[in-house]
Amino acid sequence: MREDIHATVEIVGPEGVPLSFPRATLAERFVAFALDLVILVSSASLVLLLFLLAGLGVGSLAVVGVGLVFMFLIRHFYFIAFETHWHGSTPGKRLMNLRVVARDGAGLGTDAVVARNLMRDLEIFVPLAIVANPEQVFGPGPWWLLAPTVIWLSVMALMPLLSRDRSRLGDLVGGTRVVRIPIAELPPDEAARSSQPRQSRRADTLAFSVAQLSFYGERELETLAELMRKADQGKATDDDLRVVAQTIADKVGFDGPLPARRPARFLRAFYKAQRAHLERELLFGKRKASKFDEG
């Protein structure tokens, strides 16, 4: 069962604009949960140990009782407290850059956080306890009662693997999704740079006709933008550019020595003109996806 790491979660915010988030992968969520579990178990054990020692020291069982209550609160409210106060994240989620969002796009309410985390106990801790010691959880019971229970519980626990969008049970009940915080990076605009050296603006050599610009579509434009970005970073040589420039010149019927002599300059000018052309067409409602798209 391979997971699509580029899967997205679409959420329509209160403004009515659909937003797209990268969906957190099961692996990421598992690691985040494991980190949280380590923190949770160690803090709960520490609290229990402290109260146990204090109880022995004072010689009072009541103190141990208070420790018991604290453990209960940590077990059930660790996730709830963090997710309500840390904007839908816990220490583990924060390290993995994950966030809980409400599926309906409204703010993440406390009731949703509580609902999704009440289910967590059933999904994870109860099956773990059963695996560890089935007798203690169920008590003696007839097999026809135990078997469906075990099956049902495993279906619940394996829900993230079985459900279409990798939601766990708590996400279904809370109406939430777990997303990865996307990284926003804006590279320089390839069309904003001047395609010609400032001293010699010989614009006439770098004009394209409508016919020449009608050959390629959106996909080729994007490929070209990527190539130029690579060239900016020094990952593409002049020879690479020359091959592409020559190909384009041949295809669109551009005459002249420029593609061979100054491929970078030619490509930039072509990119700019092509993008301007496609955007203009888009304004008229015509979208050309690729060179095979006849519109």
């Binding site: 959420i11 915010g13 403004e15 604009v17 937003l19 797209s20 069982l61 009541a62 141990v64 009782g65 018991l68 209550v69 209960f72 106060h85 840390w86 904007h87 839908g88 966030r99 969002v101 599926r103 409204a106 703010g107 993440l108 309410g109 949703a112 509580v114 609902a115 999704r116 009440l118 289910m119 106990d121 008590g139 619940m156 049970l169 279904l172 809370g174 109406g175 915080i181 990284i183 926003a184 990076e185 804006l186 605009d189 069309a191 904003a192 004009a207 394209f208 610009l213 434009l221 994007e222 933008a225 970005r229 700019k272 993008r275 301007a276 496609l278 955007e279 203009r280 888009l282 304004l283």
Partner: protein
Amino acid sequence: MSGEERRMEPRSVAFRREREGQWFELELLVDKALRGGLRSLEPAELHRLPILYRVALSSLSVARRTAMDRALLSYLEALAARAYLAVYGARRSTRGALRRTLFATFPQRVRALLPELVLATGLVALGTIVAVALMASEPGWYDAFVDPALAGGRDPHASTETLRAALYGGGEQGEGLAFFASFLFVHNAGIGLLCFSLGFAAGIPTALLLFTNGLMLGAFIQLYAERGLLFELGGWLLPHGIPEIGAVILCGAAGLHLGRAVLLPGRRTVRSALAWAGRRGSTVVLGSILLFAIAGLVEGIFRQAVTDDLVRYALAAFNLAWFVPWLALAGRSEGAS
């Protein structure tokens, strides 16, 4: 469009140039908010954030329709998504949120569960009646109904004196009973939480759990009734029993509501019915944990200190006097949320 030649700048270049400054400003605010929460923003920044967020959203909408620059588009998608997380990541709690939850939302949502509440109460009552009837014919059933760990020596083999002592156990035993009370709180609240979450399985495990809790209650009642200690048991049970059994029933009703969403989602999809039921139910469960805590305090402290039956009954009456009006009346005047 003059002639054949095209040398103009793409529109998206100017589009980006004009708005870039605001995007970058938003980026900085969002970075800060995602790192330290909205609280880390200055008042002026807090004021700018939603404005810039809407700028980014409108830029995104325009870019989706007009820009032929995927780098720009994916930047705006990511920026808007990040800003959404910063702005709507959590519903900010307003002044008096706790008061409103306790005295309006919680009782309102309890009342909204009326059919499930009736069913849950019926299941507990059924369990009680069954246990009483079975034990009346054969006391041996007791062991099947009550977990020995919870019985603490109170079983049909115990002498009447032992049973009576268990009702008034204080003094030397006090310390141990305080521990026992917090153990009971953890145990009972755990059962309450399970009552809710197990409801997902079409409500069946929740119904079973409610029924077995009724069995346990009935077994106790019959055990003491047989020895003529019913009145004394009432004084022992009712003060904490009202919030505690009430809380079990509330959690059970929330669980049955979940089950109903799975079985009978109505016009909605199962998914949205579940989310709806889960969110409403979770408020009820949270309130119930408070009830379990109150029950635990009554059990752990009050019952140790007070051994007089009449005072115990007085507290039971007092508990009933706040419990019922709270759930039945509180928040009626405020709009449902």
